[in-house]
């Protein structure tokens, strides 16, 4: 084993409780970080789902040509106030109807695609534009009627839902960042204190190494490796506990939210999300360890 790794492991073995306290704090930090990261992802997805629901549906006349539809779709897409323009054909409209009445097949058997009008569905960058846009679309010659879903349902309109979700998402993100920031700062301080204690107990050894020609990098290496071991152990443990938690609750969450993709539905996609979080945490953990150990070493040098 490399001499620096051996030295670092020796230090850990000699003071296991210091190591345990550093790893515990880091584990807590990265457990909370993983939880917050998944929650931020889910709330973002929830918000995106509702934001991209069609808020305005322009039902088209029966005699429209594909060129006319394409022209209007392009016009709407070019409008900055409009988002996510989607053409729904008569056949697609029938399918939507069939899905909605799947519990009563008789209803869908009696209808044909010709009954349903084709439509252009779109959402708005801001619901305050709704009145203008609807008035404008109504004037189009190929448009028969215009439906505005956001105005349906009184107080629990889509606008209300989106607005509430935005607030919740904001709280989750800001609250999460503050919590993770505070825990990160505590972890950083604990690392500095423990590495500082290590430097103090190694004072004699450092002096000897210095006298026999060890470079500052040589003297620093076991200290940095030790801090990295604490960080990686904390990241892996915190992430693993969080992973088990999500593994346990995901089926219930997916079932509860139904078609709303708050979490990736595929196991593989969910694993990729968690591996990305792990990668980011390992990076942050490394930075935390490097900064903490460098700071402790430079403080020890100043006090020598």
């Amino acid at each position: 084993m490399n001499i620096h790794f051996k030295t670092a492991f020796d230090y850990i073995k000699r003071a296991p409780f210091q190591a345990l306290s550093a790893i515990s704090v880091l584990t807590l930090t990265f457990f909370v970080s993983t939880m917050v990261a998944v929650l931020a992802y889910s709330s973002g997805n929830l918000l995106k789902y509702f934001e991209t629901r069609p808020q305005v549906i322009a039902f088209l006349k029966n005699e429209v040509t594909p060129q006319d539809v394409s022209a209007l779709q392009n016009k709407l897409t070019a409008d900055e106030r409009v988002k996510e323009v989607r053409y729904v054909s008569k056949e697609e409209a029938l399918n939507i109807y069939k899905e909605a009445t799947s519990d009563n097949p008789l209803l869908s058997e009696l209808v044909s695609p010709s009954i349903f009008p084709a439509s252009l569905e779109f959402s708005l960058a801001n619901l305050s534009y709704a009145e203008d846009i609807i008035a404008q679309v109504k004037k189009e010659s190929i448009v028969d009627q215009v439906g505005f879903t956001a105005s349906l349902g009184g107080e629990s309109t889509l606008q209300d839902v989106v607005s509430r979700l935005k607030t919740i998402t904001l709280y989750v993100r800001i609250g999460g960042m503050v919590l993770v920031g505070m825990l990160g700062a505590v972890s950083f301080l604990v690392l500095i204190v423990i590495i500082g204690m290590r430097m103090a107990t190694r004072k004699g050894e450092i002096e000897i190494l210095d006298l026999i020609g060890a470079t500052p990098k040589f003297i620093r290496s076991p200290i940095v490796i030790e801090a990295l071991i604490y960080s990686f152990a904390g990241v892996l443990l915190g992430w693993a506990i969080s992973f088990l938690f999500w593994l346990y609750v995901t089926p219930n969450i997916v079932a509860y939210f139904g078609e709303i993709p708050v979490l990736p539905k595929g196991t593989w996609d969910f694993l990729i999300l968690l591996v990305i979080i792990l990668g980011a945490e390992l990076l942050i953990g490394s930075l935390l360890a490097l900064l903490g150990s460098m700071l402790a070493v430079s403080r020890a040098k100043r006090t020598r």
Partner: protein, 246 residues
Amino acid sequence: MIQFKKVSKSFGTIKALEEVSFEVGKGEFVYITGPSGAGKTTLLKLILREYQPDSGEIVLEGVDITKLSDEQIPEYRQKIGVVFQDFKVLPERTVRENVEVSLAVIGVAQEAWSARVGQVLKLVGLAERADLFPNQLSGGEIQRVSLARALVVNPKIILADEPTGNLDWETADSMMELFEKINKEGKTIIMATHNKVIVDKFKKRVIKLKGGKNVGKEKVHELEKEPKKEENEKGEGKMKVKVEEV
């Protein structure tokens, strides 16, 4: 090999060395002698660049080491083997590991450690103690660990600061025999000591420091007698170069 040219060093108002000049040739074995506080350790620390002189030059193989930058010092120290009076071994490492550390410091590949460490431990007579910790060894054995650590890097010069200071006579004798053996193999040795018996028994060139700052550059092997009481009282920190030729 090493030249001191009018080297002075003070600590506040205390003049530890003043205009000290001498030269040590390659392969020489030289004693730095003098009573406690004479400046022997300061002189060795100047060679090791633990201290920077206030004035003067210290030239090792043509390089004025007083002009080395902080970044160059570790590389410079790697060429020097040091044996300390208080041993300075790493207490939580075995004999073998203490010696291996020196090889790690100079960047020798790990595969080569075993052979080199084995060889040097055999030389100092600690081959069978390789896996023991310093607290399981006698004082003489610990000093041999210190010597083995200094030797394993094949240094150009060995500095020994009172290496027999903490040892009994018998052990000190065997340590000195070891130093002689190493010197005969071509290593330059500069040894600080105030042990008259050692200096008389193992006759080498002596550089005397008196009252803290006194240099001789001629071949001598007798320690100057302790300064008289009146001389000390009148001396007021003045130091003169005292050279004796025998």
